[in-house]
């Protein structure tokens, strides 16, 4: 037999990863996965980034995937190594991100005996992965990895976990990478049902108040150009979901913001007044619909989604189109009529002007919205923005509009605090030539700030802007509005000195307490060619507006108190 193809299980894993064009891996070694780590020096094209916590590995791999469109890869060892991945895997699952986690498991002979660091990670991740595998034969490693990447990256993408017992990683086998793949139970749909396109075209033809509601699916399927052409051809205004931001240029005359709990007032009102919503690559999340029974009741819906189970799950749909967003939009572009909606566009411009949600409050105080607006202007709106979860996330989405493709990386469905630092790490590794800004919450930052060490070690020029309000701000806002300002466990008593902390990691840092220092600090960060942290000590009790309280409707929307009289 050809000696070339005899490899041990660990080498087979690496050979397979190379076949999948993997370049970067985020992980931490340990007993069960050690054989795999020990062969990594034989594979210099697989660049391993040693993170400081496995949650960081999963979030970094997730952000890497969102930034590049390629699958992100994370390694972890059995037991606590794998359970530390869980939050990151759940985040990827909720936001349809292709993540492949490769985990070491205890040896086959001791599986099921509660061996040292044995955890049933396939059991644990069963409901939060698109699929997972426990490999039980060396001969199955290559085909399993091929399947894992195929499943993770096709159809509606998602995380796949491959758990490999240690003895398999050590055992000799034959490396043969399968050419093709045949998974009888998995046939993602690549075609578009033209009958449905015809029905959709008819609705578009009949509509006088149409809106496109474009989500993450545009970015995932790389349908940016199609979305633009479709909107322009039919003169239909575009509203984005949070995860859809940076799929359509914000400076385009057909762009009308993003809706939902903290979306623009006008976006919510426009959706409510539309007679047709063309939803593309989005899933009517409750943060958008509020009470689904009262969501956009004047409109018919065309719903394009690759996942059939999303169609009709929350909102009744007149024309479902189960397809890849890009393919479906291509068909719609050729089938749909050129149209003008002058009256409708005038009407919605009026709504927009009457609800200038994004106008900054005049104040000498340092408010986070102002910081983000400056960040936007001084980076010319071209940075990749990675956020945590909370108020700062909403302000980032509101005050940092994107004209370019795929610039916002944020944990939407899972709402995982702690995403901001490892997410920025993954994004910067994936897009080394672009400037990455992490807009962080003081709370979320403290959850995963250990990755500052990884950033410093790898000299990644990430800029971190902490919106330090001394609070778990978003929760405090709910307490203020719905629990009579009873601030239970949301205020930090004793915040660490973030500047000294960053410096301890070897990262340049600044503190900004005054509005007049904002521009200078941001410019310093932009021109510094390494990582920088800015601790923006902002107003502590600022609220995010507008707000539609959970489960309510556009009629219940609260706007910024000062802009109320404009109504």
């Amino acid at each position: 037999m050809n000696k070339e193809i005899i490899k041990n299980g660990s080498q087979i894993v690496c050979e397979s990863l190379l076949k999948e064009n993997v370049e970067h891996i985020f992980g931490i070694p340990g007993g069960a996965i050690l054989p795999l780590y020990q062969v990594l020096p034989e594979y210099p094209d697989l660049k391993h980034i040693l993170v400081r916590h496995e949650q960081g590995a999963a979030h970094a791999a997730d952000a890497y995937a969102r930034a590049t469109g390629k699958a992100g890869v994370a390694f972890a060892t059995s037991g606590p190594g794998t359970t530390n991945l869980v939050t990151g895997i759940a985040t990827a699952q909720m936001d349809s991100v292709p993540l492949v986690a490769i985990t070491g498991q205890v040896g086959r002979p001791v599986i099921g005996t509660d061996a040292f660091q044995e955890t049933d990670i396939t059991g644990i991740t069963l409901p939060i992965t698109k699929h997972n595998y426990l490999v039980m034969e060396t001969k199955d490693i290559a085909s399993t990895i091929k399947e894992a990447f195929h499943i993770a990256t096709t159809g509606r993408p998602g995380p796949v976990l491959v758990d490999i017992p240690k003895d398999i990683l050590q055992e000799d086998g034959i490396f043969e990478y399968p050419e093709s793949i045949n998974i009888p139970g998995y046939k993602p749909n690549n075609s578009v049902n033209l009958k449905q396109i015809k029905k959709a075209t008819k609705l578009i033809q009949e509509s006088s108040r149409p809106v496109i509601l474009a989500g993450h699916g545009i970015k995932i399927s790389n349908a940016y150009d199609e979305l633009l052409s479709f909107a322009e051809k039919c003169q239909i205004p575009v509203i984005n979901t949070l995860l859809g931001l940076s799929s359509f240029p914000a400076n385009h005359y057909l762009y009308y913001g993003w809706p939902g709990m903290h979306g623009m007032a006008y976006s919510n009102l426009i959706l409510d007044q539309a007679d047709l919503i063309i939803a593309v690559g989005m899933r009517f999340d409750d943060r958008i619909t509020g009470n689904p029974e009262k969501f956009a009741t004047s409109s018919k819906k065309i719903h394009i989604d690759i996942d059939a189970s999303e169609v009709g799950k929350i909102i009744p749909v007149e024309v479902p189109i189960v397809a890849n967003a890009k393919n479906a939009l291509k068909e719609l572009i050729s089938a749909a009529p050129e149209k003008e909606h002058t009256e409708w566009l005038t009407q919605i411009d009026r709504i927009k002007n009457n609800h200038p949600t994004l106008k900054l409050r005049e104040t000498d105080k340092l408010i986070p919205q102002y910081v983000i607006k400056q960040l936007h202007d001084l980076t010319k709106g071209q940075a990749i923005i990675v956020t945590g979860v909370g108020q700062h996330q909403m302000w980032a989405a509101q005050h940092y509009p994107f004209n370019d493709k795929n610039k916002l990386i944020t944990s939407g469905g899972a709402g995982a605090m702690g995403y901001e630092v490892p997410g920025a790490l993954g994004a910067q590794v994936g897009r080394p030539n672009e400037m990455v800004w992490s807009i962080a919450g003081d709370g979320g930052f403290m959850m995963t700030m250990s990755e500052l060490a990884t950033i410093a070690e790898n000299r990644l020029p990430i800029k971190i802007a902490i919106m330090n309000n001394g609070f778990l701000g978003m929760v405090r806002q709910w307490q203020e509005l719905f629990y009579e300002k009873s601030y239970v466990s949301t205020q930090y008593n004793g915040i660490p000195d973030f500047v000294k902390l960053a410096e301890a990691f070897g990262i340049k840092a600044m503190r900004v307490k005054d509005k007049t220092q904002v521009k200078g600090a941001i410019n310093d960060a932009v021109t510094h060619d390494g990582p920088v942290l800015i601790d923006f000590v902002v107003e502590s009790e600022e609220n995010v507006y507008p707000m539609i309280p959970s489960g309510q409707t556009v009629q219940d929307m609260m706007e910024e108190p000062s802009s109320q009289e404009i109504k």
């Binding site: 396939t122 059991g123 069963l126 409901p127 698109k130 699929h131 426990l134 499943i151 998974i183 009888p184 139970g185 998995y186 996942d307 059939a308 189970s309 009709g312 799950k313």
Partner: protein, 167 residues
């Protein structure tokens, strides 16, 4: 003696699934996680090697069955899903029922059993074990009747169902 009518709307979904460790776990985990109500679930080898057939009796209307069907279909180990509720089907379930008996009640039980074309498979001085096959209604009806004598144990396989051949 009243026979309780089975009121809930139920639907019958069958699926062809990989016969691999953990597959049933994936299916039940999904059903549980999404809060679907399952009346019964039965699984066993199919006529195709390495594939099993599953019958799920689901409580709920059209939209719920549609979601279940789609969510089942999304599982990589599920190869084919069919909602056969509206088709002409035969369905059967096997039940073992242990019922208390005394010399006085024994003959009445035996009579009931024969009316329902069930079988007595074990007799002791204090109880009888009955084997009954049938659709949901029939087993329910028999069980309700036997309740009067005191049922001590019931074991049911869950419903399995199959399309009738169209002529």
């Amino acid at each position: 003696m009243t026979i309780k009518k089975h009121k809930l709307e139920t639907r019958t979904v069958t699926a062809l699934v990989n016969d691999k460790p953990g597959v049933l776990n994936r299916i039940t985990s999904m059903l549980r996680r999404r809060g679907f109500n399952i009346q019964s679930l039965a699984v066993g080898h199919s006529e195709i090697e390495d594939l099993s057939r599953l019958t799920v009796i689901v409580e709920g209307g059209d939209d719920i069955v549609e979601q279940i069907t789609k969510q089942l279909h999304k599982l990589i180990d599920v190869i084919k899903v069919t909602d056969i509720s509206d088709e002409s089907i035969v369905s059967r379930e096997l039940a073992l029922i242990k019922v208390k008996s005394t010399p006085e009640t024994r003959s009445e039980i035996v009579q009931l059993v024969s009316i329902y074309r069930a079988k007595i498979i074990d007799v002791s001085s204090k109880s009888i074990i009955i084997e009954a096959t049938g659709d949901y209604q029939k087993i329910k009806a028999l069980q309700d009747l036997l309740e009067n004598f005191g049922i001590t144990e019931v074991m049911r396989t869950g419903m399995i169902a199959m399309n009738r051949e169209k002529n």
